[in-house]
Symmetry: C2
Subunit: 324 residues, 2 copies
């Protein structure tokens, strides 16, 4: 197998090689722009690694890996319109650089292009690849809808939150793993297990994202700390704080949630202090580790070489020790 950085390079080259028609420019330029913004390329790397682990030839899943990354970036593009987010990876988002209509339409095109890449599979794998891709896509929309539903609710339970991020974030990592397994003709039981590895890892990954937004190092995090706090985003942190805070803590939390135009530094500092008082940081790290452990446990049951297993273990370790 290759080293992690080498899979990233293979994925990045394939992504850079996507062909975009020249016209109409306002349809295809935003797609090329979005795909060129970069990112960690975790999903295509997982697809390539899984394919390699099961058959020794990662290239069999290359088109599908690109398709999944196109899909992931399509969700970011449309999410940015819905969230009215101005910046993505240090650059203006598509709806800011162009406009909302261009962002909607080029996102639609990106979704179809994602399907086209997955559908490049040969006849023997096409059905399974399309079914996995399409059913995963539906789950991702469901997760995004639950996330939007939660904005208007103050009684979201931790389990509901985990179920939401499982749909919105994690199943696509599971899909990437399973896609690699499918293209490699892995046994069905193994394909299911590598899917579970990806999903559990995805939950741990999102929980860490929530944690980093509060406790990350501003020097390395890549975006401003406290964005979720400022937006009252119902993250694992806030949900648990709302469920745990009593008395004056609860009053203070509710006051900050209701504050109009609060001073950023003050609100972030106060809510962070509250989280720390309530033990929310430890709670998040605990949950994160629990899902990471589950991923490693299921990994141990998969029929792959010990070398391949080590690669997936290293991948999980790397994710859990990232600072951005």
């Amino acid at each position: 197998m290759l080293r992690f950085e080498e899979y990233v390079k293979v994925a990045s080259q394939a992504i850079a090689g996507i062909q975009y028609p020249a016209a109409p420019a306002a349809l295809y330029e935003p797609v090329a722009y979005t795909m060129a913004l970069g990112g960690k390329r975790l999903r295509p790397v997982l697809a390539l690694m899984a394919c390699d682990a099961f058959c020794g030839d990662y290239s069999r899943a290359l088109n599908q890996a690109v398709g999944i990354e196109l899909y992931h970036n399509f969700t970011l593009l449309h999410d940015d319109v819905m969230d009215k987010a101005d910046v993505r990876r240090g650059k203006p988002t598509v709806h800011v650089r162009w406009n909302d209509n261009v962002a909607i339409l080029s996102g639609d095109a990106m979704l179809t292009m994602a399907g086209q890449h997955v559908a490049k599979a040969d006849a023997a794998h096409l059905k399974a690849a399309m079914e996995l891709f399409n059913s995963t896509a539906m789950e991702v929309y469901e997760g995004q809808q639950y996330d939007m539903d939660f904005e208007c609710r103050n009684d979201v339970a931790e389990e509901e939150y985990i179920a939401m991020i499982r749909l919105k974030t994690s199943v696509l990592l599971g899909c990437a793993c399973k896609m690699g397994a499918i293209m490699a003709d892995a046994a069905e039981e193994d394909a299911k297990r590598i899917y579970q590895y990806g999903v559990d890892l995805g939950v741990a990954f999102q929980l860490q994202d929530d944690w980093l937004d509060v406790y990350g190092d501003p020097a390395t995090f890549g975006k401003e700390i406290g964005g979720d706090i400022m937006n009252n985003k119902k993250t694992f942190m806030l949900i648990n704080a709302m469920n745990r805070a009593m008395g004056t803590d609860r009053d203070e939390l509710m006051r900050w949630l209701a504050a109009e135009n609060p001073v950023r530094e003050e609100k972030v500092a106060a809510v962070t202090a509250l989280y720390s008082r309530l033990g929310i940081s430890e709670l998040a790290i605990e949950a994160m580790n629990r899902y990471n452990d589950r991923a490693l446990q299921v990994l141990d049951t998969i029929n792959i070489s010990e070398e391949a297993r080590r690669h997936f273990r290293d991948f999980a370790n790397m994710l859990m020790h990232r600072d951005r």
Copy 2:
């Protein structure tokens, strides 16, 4: 073969039978709502007719027919967000009844559901069905983008306009015809020809739409006459008027195009009178008939029974004599 109304009934029943998960409601209710608004169901009927004509069993294309109608309605849903259209088939549009974010996300889900229905094809037809569906979808986005590009241009040529409506509207009718042919194992040459029939018919259909928006009977048209004129929409009518009007006619047309908050009745009456003076109505009818004739000519070369050919001829006649 069945009568036209019977194909409509088969398509409508299949559409009514689409299964929507119960939750999250805000994701699936707008999809069910959109599909229940009705419409002429021309695309699924064409798919069923074509399949029936080539193999005598329309049911082979039923899932793909539903998929194409889901796709068509997805484009209407997202177009209504982009156009800020409030009403569709006499009911509030999704972004009005819910909101923009719900309309974007449920439209995305609808696009994936469309692909899922097309992908229900058996292994022997899956590759061809997916490739036709995906490449057609890309062309439809291109057409929509050109349509938006034309809004900012005053020099659109008639040929450019025809090329745009071919992409935005016609290829999906061609796709429906060819999808039926593919599912029926028609010869490749016949599949190409029935595609061409659908595309030419689609151009005639859109030209008629432009014409009806000006010269339609308000009692039967279903929406207010003159909507395109009020919106300065670059239709076949306006493009030709802009290219033909000289002297005072041109000045008057430009004045109406630039008028802020004009009285509806006045602007519609004045521009319609201008169209009539410039012979635009005849020009549109001529172009419409030209494309309708092309569709009927290619129809004559397809290897199908004379009964089937009559069905497709009747379909074209019905389209050309509709009043809404």
